[in-house]
Point group: C2
């Protein structure tokens, strides 16, 4: 995979060893691979628990695993054996000046911790993804419940917590992990010193609750935020249903947006009269939020009288921020997706040809790296061990024979 | 702020100029500041639109702005004047070898684009945050509607889209922006060449829908994913209400989790009989997901017969992943938050002393950088112009007098 990438990608030369599972750490490693690093994901023989995670293609191949491991190399090693552990340790130690970088969410594997590996690689950069900062486990679903967002998400008046479906904390945690590696790499490049870092999923969620003002609002204002359904807090934005069953999200965040929305819907006069009689100023976000239900009620009537095509026509060309709600099926049927320069057709073993995204970071105008597929589990075991540690074919065959490393995928299929 | 940070932070020395608003770009800049960079946020006189964004403290100070701009320097400049634009351009050009880095989500400001600034700083690193890859605007709420998650989020059977409250796309986009800067900085350090990058909010969302398998599921399997409420897709996890009105999220992701859950709830025998009569194997995630409603129905009865304290006692010490649902108010009242090493008390002008998070990345054992407060708008205008461009007090006073740059905050209050 990596060999296909143009050498001008920003992380060209960097070598990262990843021992991971599920979303956060694999996404962190994939991000580095998409930026040009050689990322070697090490899995136990047969794969980590995420290797069979839903959704699955009809072949049984995990679409989830394929999506989160694009562009990596994959090797399989018996991680419970001392010999397998020594092999992985050597891959860290002997990976050249731009190597010696480990990303992992494994816990309870002492040989894989910073304190052990640094004995073999003094300038080691080691980023540990964990559940809580004390090392106890957590997953996106438990962290999300713990930090408050399910209590303010969902339809107004709904009594129970509403979990997100997007594993947002895993995503942010994985990106922080890759930021940790890049920042530690910078420091190592300047000072020669490696370092350990860690990032806890729970801390990511708690930090964001703080960064966005939710914690301060509860502390300083002693306000218990309520569910607002699809309204935006502190401004005017909401979803509206069209006559023909379409649905659009409409955001009037600025004075100009609001004026354009009133123009497009022909409500300027009615809203103006309302504004004067209430003594309100709907050119301010505060008053648009205060009277959101009244304003939405008026707008609702306009949307309910128009088909989606009419709504599109009326809102096109205005300054308004708006979007139709799509399903995932709508998205893949949409020419706009296929024509997005980030999206390319890849051929993934077990899945076949399908549209897949590269990294959303674009490097310069029009220059996109090819989207690399995910490896097949164990695809690069022999290649990596030969290239990095100099094993001969005979030595590799013997390691496979003894079960210290996994066989190449084709061999396994044949067995 | 930055002067207070220990020089061993990994990005010490890096200088970033940020012209931004709202969440994504400010979070990207704050992340770099939290990693040790000097980040100068440049705002128009009086502040950008996010400066008054809700939630507000009783003083009117935005808790949102304060939360997303911690650890930065703030300068205010008349960005519409040619002279103000020249000043900002000089701050980019003359910021030393580790400077020349721009992060912005401003659009339609030609003088601030890569193509203009690079004429003054040949090794410029420039990261543009945008709505869509073609430069058209979008916000988290419209992007979220567009990419499918609101159609699968929310209570089972709920007909309408459910927006998230967490601006997850803004968060991921901001972290990608900071990754762009760090990766381009690495390449510049090696090759001497700067580069432009861009990251579109919509592309971030679309990429994640792809990375997580949602797009492939729709393309390859032609499956339209349904709402599952608070169930986890493809495994067994759900929320349960306790007798006394508590609520817990419980995840049995592995065989051991499941066995522990049955032990803790005394359901092993009943579930075993059910398993045999159905011909199911609840030690597999597939079957736990397939029969999730039956299993949850049985578990529901156990949780409904126990108070939260009893549930805590029963689940403590098991391998299960579980959490109580908290409100934001619960969180700030919780000793665990105050004792989290990432959280510190900061004194924010207009807000007062409150608990605020640092970056969730921990550097080594126990070494946390002090959590820096946000600047007051324009707090560092004179300091930055004097230090970087060598302006004298008289020259600075004259610039303030003519309105090219904003006055120091105390002076403005006095006016």
């Amino acid at each position: 995979m990596t060999g296909d990438q143009p050498t001008e990608l920003p992380l060209a030369g960097m070598r990262v060893l990843e021992v991971s599972s599920f979303v956060a750490a694999p996404l962190g490693g994939m991000t580095l691979a998409q930026l040009g690093a050689e990322v070697i994901r090490v899995d136990p023989l047969g794969g980590a628990p995420d290797h069979s995670r839903w959704p699955l293609a009809p072949s049984g191949t995990s679409l989830y695993w394929a999506g989160l491991n694009k562009g990596k190399k994959s090797i399989t090693v018996d991680l419970r054996s001392a010999e397998g552990q020594r092999l992985v340790t050597r891959l860290v130690a002997e990976s050249g000046p731009d190597g010696g970088i480990v990303l992992t969410n494994a816990v309870g594997r002492r040989w894989l911790e910073y304190g052990e590996l640094v004995r073999h690689r003094p300038d080691l950069v080691h980023v540990q993804v964990e559940g809580h900062h004390d090392g106890t486990p957590a997953v996106d679903y438990t962290v999300n419940a713990a930090v408050g967002f399910p209590m303010v998400t969902g339809p107004e008046g709904h009594a129970d917590p509403v979990n997100h479906v997007l594993p947002a904390w895993d995503i942010a945690c994985g990106l922080y992990a890759s930021l940790g590696i890049l920042s530690a790499d910078r420091r190592r490049r300047i000072t020669g010193q490696g370092q350990r870092m860690s990032v806890a999923l729970y801390d990511v969620a708690l930090a964001m609750a703080g960064n966005l003002g939710f914690l301060a609002e509860a502390q300083v204002n002693r306000v218990v935020r309520k569910r607002l359904g699809n309204y935006l807090y502190g401004g005017f934005a909401r979803d509206f249903a069209t006559r023909d069953g379409g649905r659009v999200m409409v955001c009037a965040l600025t004075r100009r947006h609001w004026a354009d929305l009133l123009d497009a819907t022909g409500l300027a006069e009615v809203v103006g009269a309302l504004e004067r009689s209430l003594g309100a100023d709907f050119s301010t976000e505060d008053d648009r939020f205060e009277y959101r239900e009244v304003l939405a009620g008026l707008l609702n009537r306009w949307f309910a009288r128009h088909d989606l095509a009419e709504v599109r026509a009326a809102l096109a060309g205005t300054s308004l921020l708006w979007s139709v709600y799509n399903t995932f099926s709508d998205l893949v049927a949409d020419d706009l997706i296929a024509s997005n320069p980030m999206i390319q057709v890849i051929d993934q073993p077990g899945v076949g040809s399908h549209l897949a995204p590269g990294i959303p970071l674009a490097f310069g105008v029009g220059a996109r790296a090819p989207v690399a597929r995910a490896p097949v589990l164990g695809e690069h075991t022999e290649e990596v061990l030969a290239a990095t540690l100099g094993f001969s074919d005979a030595e590799l065959a013997e390691l496979v024979e003894r079960g210290v490393v996994g066989p190449a995928p084709a061999e396994r299929t044949a067995v």
